[in-house]
Assembly symmetry: C2
DNA sequence: CACAACTATGTCTGAACTGACATAGTCTGT
DNA sequence: ACAGACTATGTCAGTTCAGACATAGTTGTG
């Protein structure tokens, strides 16, 4: 009964041993385009994974009150992960606050809505240039089988998403510009 | 302390009085491109909104064990909604199971990954034709101020999203096709 | 040398959400 | 006349998640 977060952790550990803190750092934006979780959730989930026998750890001395725990995949964890990857993903319900606000936007002042979308567009464009820089640093797309293929493919997804979002914001702004 | 779901319900009620059951139906795909929630959550939230004085209801006889409750916005609810619309949305963390699977895909058999993306592409294309039909039925984009503007704008967002997703799936399939 | 930022683990509360269970009248097609 | 789908409200148990709280050594900056 491993949760999706559990598999996200296994996916990170498949690329190399890490502490819980490191896993949280990898998942944090703008590094992780694939999943996000707070450290508190990660520590809790790591305990579950350890009980399930999917990960193990070696304690090592480090800064902080407790010893740090460097986690690694067990063979069972690796097998479970591989098996999970190609099973069809369950679709997450769409819950997007901006879309909801748009649905209700006809009730609000056009100028304020326009401002909100202008801000959103700026945020998307900032992320876009950031992603484009990351893409350029790849050069050739890594081949399938290379761990970096995962990074490249998810980056490309993020890139496409930001472009679509930015375009939609521009359309909204245009609608509000001519309307008022 | 109204939750986002609360505002989603207020946004639906702003277009006309409805029962909890009706609200759930509006939010259900493929009708609602803006938010989703189960009926159990909606009934719970409606009680909270009523206690907060943002909605009221009139009981009416209907099928079922209890009388049906036709909810409507109160002036306070309407004001709260209007005020909320243009406040900047907090960004939701990215949690997309397919993207996570892609991040880990380098560990799996290319053929199985290819199949998964082929299935995903088919689902996106199906939704795309459905959305395109809905868009065609609009004809001219409704003007801002018309409630249907919200429907049209969110539909356009969904359309852009599906196109971006389909394109990304095609790219993935192409990568897997030449690689194996 | 002081202070801040970073490393590092963990607990706990409350909110949000899912899915199952419970109940029962009405409407539609065969 | 009967079956099945639809209308309609609600509870409950369990999971997921965010954010606060707690603790403390190391590293880098001014």
């Amino acid at each position: 009964m491993t949760s999706t977060l559990g598999f996200a952790i296994l996916a990170v550990l498949a690329r190399g041993d890490r502490t819980g803190y490191d896993i949280a750092a990898v998942m944090r934006r703008p590094v992780g385009y694939f999943w996000t979780a707070g450290h508190s959730q990660i520590h809790t989930e790591l305990q579950k994974l350890r009980i399930a026998g999917l990960v193990g750890y070696e304690a090592a001395h480090g800064p902080g009150p407790q010893d740090k725990k460097v986690y690694h995949l067990t063979p069972e964890g690796s097998a479970k992960l591989r098996e999970w990857i190609t099973k069809p993903p369950r679709e997450r319900p769409e819950r997007d606050e901006l879309v909801l606000k748009t649905y209700a936007a006809w009730l609000a002042e056009p100028g304020l809505v326009r401002q909100m979308f202008t801000d959103q567009l700026a945020a998307h464009e900032a992320r876009l240039t950031e992603y484009e820089r990351a893409e350029a640093s790849f050069g050739e797309p890594p081949p399938f089988g290379d761990p970096r293929f995962g990074n490249y493919a998810t980056l490309l997804c993020g890139l496409g998403y930001e472009r679509h979002r930015a375009e939609w914001c521009r359309w909204m702004i245009a609608q509000l510009g001519t309307g008022s």
